[in-house]
Every structure is written in C-alpha cells, then in structure tokens.
C-alpha cells in the first residue's frame, strides 16, 4: 500500500481522508480498533473491576446495607466451612463432568476425523453444531422430562424389568435421591449433555491434524493398535481435549441454572452467587464467590496454554 504516494492526490474531503490514511496505515488500524476496544474495555473490563471492588466491601449484618470501606472480612467469610463445601462440591462436579465429556466425545470426534467423508462429514459436523447451538434452556427442560419420576427413564427401566437397578442406584447415599431429577446423578447427566459439543469440536480439530504416516510408521514398526493409540494418537489429541476441557470445566463452575432445575437443592458456586446477590442482597460476598472460579480458571488457562491447548482453539 506504500505505492499510494506515487498516485495523484484524491479530490474532495473523502479523498483527502483516504490519502491521509493510506500514508499512515497504523492510524487507520488504531481508529478501527478504538470503538470495539472501548466497548469491551469500559463495559466488560470496567464491570469486572467493579465486581472486584465490591468483593472488598462488606455487608452490615444488622442493617443489611453494604459498607463501602476496604476490608478483607468478606473473603474471611468465604472461608467458612459451609462456603468451602460449596466450592469443593462445584469443583468436583466440574472435574467429573469434564472427564465424562472427554470419554463420550472421543469416539465421536475420532470417527468424524478419521472415517467420515463428504456428506457424512457435513452430517457429523451439523449433528454436533445443532445441539451446541440449540437453546440452552430447552436442553435442560428436555432432561427434566427424561428424568422425571413418571418419565421415560422410569418407563424404560420397568419395561426392561430393571426397576430394581434404578431404585438401587437412587438409594445410593449422597449421589442418589427421591428421583433422578432430584439427585446429583441428574445434575451430572444434564451438565455432561449441555457441554458435550464443546468437547467434541476441539478434540476433532486436534485429531484432524494427526498425520496418517505417523500411524503407518507406528504400525510398520510393530506397534499394536492399542500401543499406537496410547503412544501416538492420544498424546497428539491431548491439546484438543484440554482445549475442550477449558469450556466444560469453566461452564460447569459458573452455571446455576442446571443445578437449580435438576438437582437436590444443595448449593453450587453459581447458585450461591445468584441467591446472595438476589434475595439476600449481599453483593460483596457474591462478588467474592465469583473470584473463586475466576482464579481457578486463571490457573487452568495458564496450564492449558503451557500444554499447547490454545493452538487448537
């Protein structure tokens, strides 16, 4: 674009503006970037700082008003036994959901990357994209239908004479409950369902990049398919799985709608945040709670970057 100086100057105001920018491409970049950067900077980053600021305020127990003074009392409150349990429960759930998503996603991603061709490939892609993009609430609602006591799971169990198995699972302490839609198992199933596509896409992207001659070389050198899988394919797919896990982990950490609708009403971080800011008006503690997933995700993203997960995104 530097040759532009060789041509005649343009006519009119618009022409002169164009010439000015041609001579200074950096200025044009800056001018293009300014509005979106201002928006994200002011609206989003600004709000994040407002949140951080709130977490250093505290709530007056008697008046219920927020005291606008710097204090670490709210963070100390976060360390209470009950609150730590909420955090631990959420992190365990997020880890299990991530693991299950990885296991279920892998065969789909592997099949799509290795065997699907032409229209099959498009079909696989759409079959993953459509559930990913269809309404989040509708997906949760679908599971409310499935897991309800009078719903399809119970019906199938009795049709197959497996009611004893279902009742046995539901009577397991901690993870069981009166019905699947009021148990940790239910919460877990719905989480896995809603975040699964986020795991499939990056895993598939990583698998697409595995060169076929690596596999041939591995086989030629006498490796069994199992050895090829664990020493060649899996390590090369790992960045993709980690990239997917960023989504499944982070989304589970912050969600409050799934455990509200399907679950045993024990709190997760998201639900705690929602109730604290809403009914009890304790925005400082709610803010301090959200700092937890932010900090966890900060560490997680840093580790993921080191393992090369960002190249697949």
């Amino acid at each position: 674009m530097n040759q532009a100086v060789l041509i005649e100057a343009r006519e009119g105001v618009l022409g002169r503006i164009s010439d000015a920018f041609l001579a200074r491409p950096k200025l044009l970049t800056l001018l293009l970037l300014l509005p979106p950067l201002l928006w994200i900077g002011v609206v989003y980053i600004g709000s994040l700082f407002a949140l951080l600021l709130q977490s250093f305020y505290s709530l007056d127990d008697y008046s219920g008003l927020i005291i606008h003074e710097f204090t670490l009392a709210t963070y100390l409150e976060l360390l209470q036994e009950a609150n730590l349990q909420i955090i631990l429960r959420t992190v365990i759930m997020a880890a299990l959901v991530t693991l299950a998503c990885a296991v279920i996603a892998f065969p789909i991603a592997y099949y799509a990357a290795r065997y699907a061709r032409g229209w099959m490939k498009a079909l696989f892609y759409l079959a993953v994209m459509m559930p990913l993009w269809s309404s989040y609430l509708v997906k949760i609602y679908a599971w409310k239908l499935i897991l309800a006591k009078e719903g399809i799971v119970t019906w199938f169990a009795s049709a197959l004479n497996l009611s004893w198995l279902l009742n046995g699972i539901l009577s397991i302490p901690v993870i069981g409950g009166p019905s699947l839609s009021f148990s940790y198992i239910g919460t877990f199933l719905v989480f896995v369902y809603v975040w699964l596509p986020y795991m499939i896409l990056p895993t598939q992207a990583a698998l697409e990049r595995v060169p076929v001659n690596f596999l041939e070389a591995s086989a030629d050198l006498g490796a069994t398919p199992r050895q090829t899988f664990w020493t060649v394919i899996f390590p090369l797919a790992l960045p993709g799985i980690i990239a997917g896990s960023i989504f499944t982990f982070s989304l589970t950490l912050g969600d409050y709608i799934v455990p509200t609708i399907v679950g045993n009403s024990r709190l997760f971080i998201g639900m705690a945040v929602y109730t604290l800011q809403g009914t009890s008006g304790n925005i400082p503690l709610a803010a301090a709670f959200t700092v937890v997933p932010m900090a966890i995700m900060g560490v997680y993203l840093w580790m993921a970057k080191r393992m090369g997960a960002f190249d697949v995104l």
């Binding site: 618009l14 709000s47 498009a122 982070s250 409050y256 959200t290």
Partner: protein
C-alpha cells in the same frame, strides 16, 4: 484430511460414535413429542394421548408469552446491530496489522464467552449498582452486545484474512477513495461472513438467560419466561410448544450461517 478414507472401522468405535450422537439428539426429539401430549400435569411417558391443541392455546390463550417474545426479539436485534459494527471493526483491524499486544486484545474479545456467564452477569450488575443505573432494555442490550461481538469478530476476521490485499490496492490505485473501496470491493466480499456472524449473534442473544437474569431486573425476556415456567410450571405442554418455536428460531440462523460460510472456513461460532 490426514487420515486415509478406506480403513476398517472398529465396530465398537462406530457404536460409541452413533450412541454419542443419539445421546445428543434424543432429548430434543422428546421436546417435540411432549408438545403433543394430552397430559399437562406431569411428564408421563409414553404420553396417554396426542393432541395439537397446545399450539392454539399458546397462540390465543396465553397473552403472557407475547411481551417477553417481543422484548427478546428487540434485544437480539439491537445487540446484533451493535455487535456487527464493533465485531467487523475489530476483525478488520486485527487481521491487517501485527503489533505488540495483538494477542492480548484478541483474547480480550473472547473473554466474555470464555469466562462463565455468571461472572459477566454479576459484574454488570455490580457496575450498574455502583453507578446507580436503573434496569431497562438497554442494560440487557449492553450485556448481550458484549458477548455477541466475539461471534461476529470470529467470522469477520476469518474472511478478512482470505481477502486479497491486491484488490484493495488496485481499487485505491485506480483512484477510488477509501469509502468507495469499502462499498464496492470489500463489502461484497465480506457480506456473507457478516450475515453469518450476525445470525449467530442473533441466535446467541435470543437464547441467553444467565447474563440476562442479572441485567433485566423485573423485565422478562423469552428465556426468562421459560425459566420461570420450568421452576413453576402451569401448562407444561405450552412450554414445549414455545420450546419447539425457540428451537426453530435458533436453528434456522445456524443452518443459514453454516450454508453461508461452509467453503473453507469452519463456522465462526464453533466455540460459542
């Protein structure tokens, strides 16, 4: 395209892949089935009978559905409009220049969807709180536009990268000014990508609930209406009818966006 096409497929793998896809799709099919059930008090399976009356009930007898629907459409339209402008500008700037901090800035645009929605929601909520801003349609739009920018940006930057610089140079060398070049050379080439990005942004905003619950106050968008129906159900099949409508409204843009961007690039919203 690195794997060979003709290879024996292990039966276990095919089974796991098909099973996984069924797991993804059966629940959505059930939503449609239950829109036709005659039982409105529980989720009895199999439905005791089938009827289409809930469609007319939803249309004629439930005036509480319409205001949230209008609000959702309005919010999605405005948020998409803002995201289209800002996302395109960001895509144009970051595709053409290399400078220090470029990676950080692109991470900044992705952040609103990489971090859990609840963080975006409560952040905005506490910012409104500190600045004394009252809830209105604009507080909802503010949140939605923020996470819609990235969808447009992803589509725009992918297309800008494929855009040949020679054409722009030729246009400018032949005497067109920057605006004429944009109108006649750049816009026709990025048009479909912007349309695709805009549709994805619209679908994303139309469906969003987590951020919205923090920025809406007493207002009700369609997802918020649905959430309250999930917590306190009235006529369950009516919720299904609305759910079927929502599936169609969100899926059509996705299919069109896929069609518009299917050559070469993967769809920009791959990471929602």
């Amino acid at each position: 395209m690195s794997f060979k096409a003709k290879r024996k497929r292990p039966a276990g793998l095919s089974l796991a892949a098909v099973g996984g896809l069924l797991y993804l799709h059966i629940p959505l099919a059930l939503i449609v089935l239950y829109a036709f059930t005659t039982e409105d008090k529980s989720f009895q399976f199999p439905p005791p009978g089938y009827t289409a009356k809930w469609f007319s009930v939803a249309w004629f007898d439930r005036p509480d559905i319409w205001p949230p629907l209008y609000l959702s459409l309005k919010v999605a339209a405005i948020a998409t409009f803002i995201a289209l402008i800002l996302g395109t500008l960001a895509g144009a700037a970051l595709s053409r220049a290399r400078f220090f901090g470029r990676e950080t800035i692109s991470l900044l645009f992705v952040l609103p969807i990489a971090l859990p929605g609840i963080i975006t929601g409560i952040s905005l909520r506490s910012a409104f709180d500190i600045m004394g801003i009252d809830f209105s349609i604009w507080t909802i739009v503010l949140g939605h536009a923020t996470f819609c920018i990235v969808v447009v940006y992803n589509n725009a930057i992918a297309r800008f990268r494929r855009l040949s610089g020679n054409l722009i140079e030729a246009s400018m060398d032949l005497g067109a000014n920057g605006f004429q070049t944009f109108r006649h050379v750049i816009l026709p080439q990025i048009g479909t990508a912007l349309l695709a990005g805009g549709m994805l942004a619209f679908a994303l905003s139309f469906d969003e609930v987590i951020v919205t619950t923090f920025t809406a106050g007493q207002q009700s968008t369609l997802p918020i209406w649905m959430l309250s129906e999930l917590i306190r159900p009235r006529q369950r099949p009516v919720t299904n009818v609305v759910a079927v409508f929502v599936i169609i409204v969100t899926l059509l843009p996705i299919l069109i966006a896929y069609y518009l961007t299917r050559e070469g690039e993967h769809i920009g919203g791959a990471s929602k």
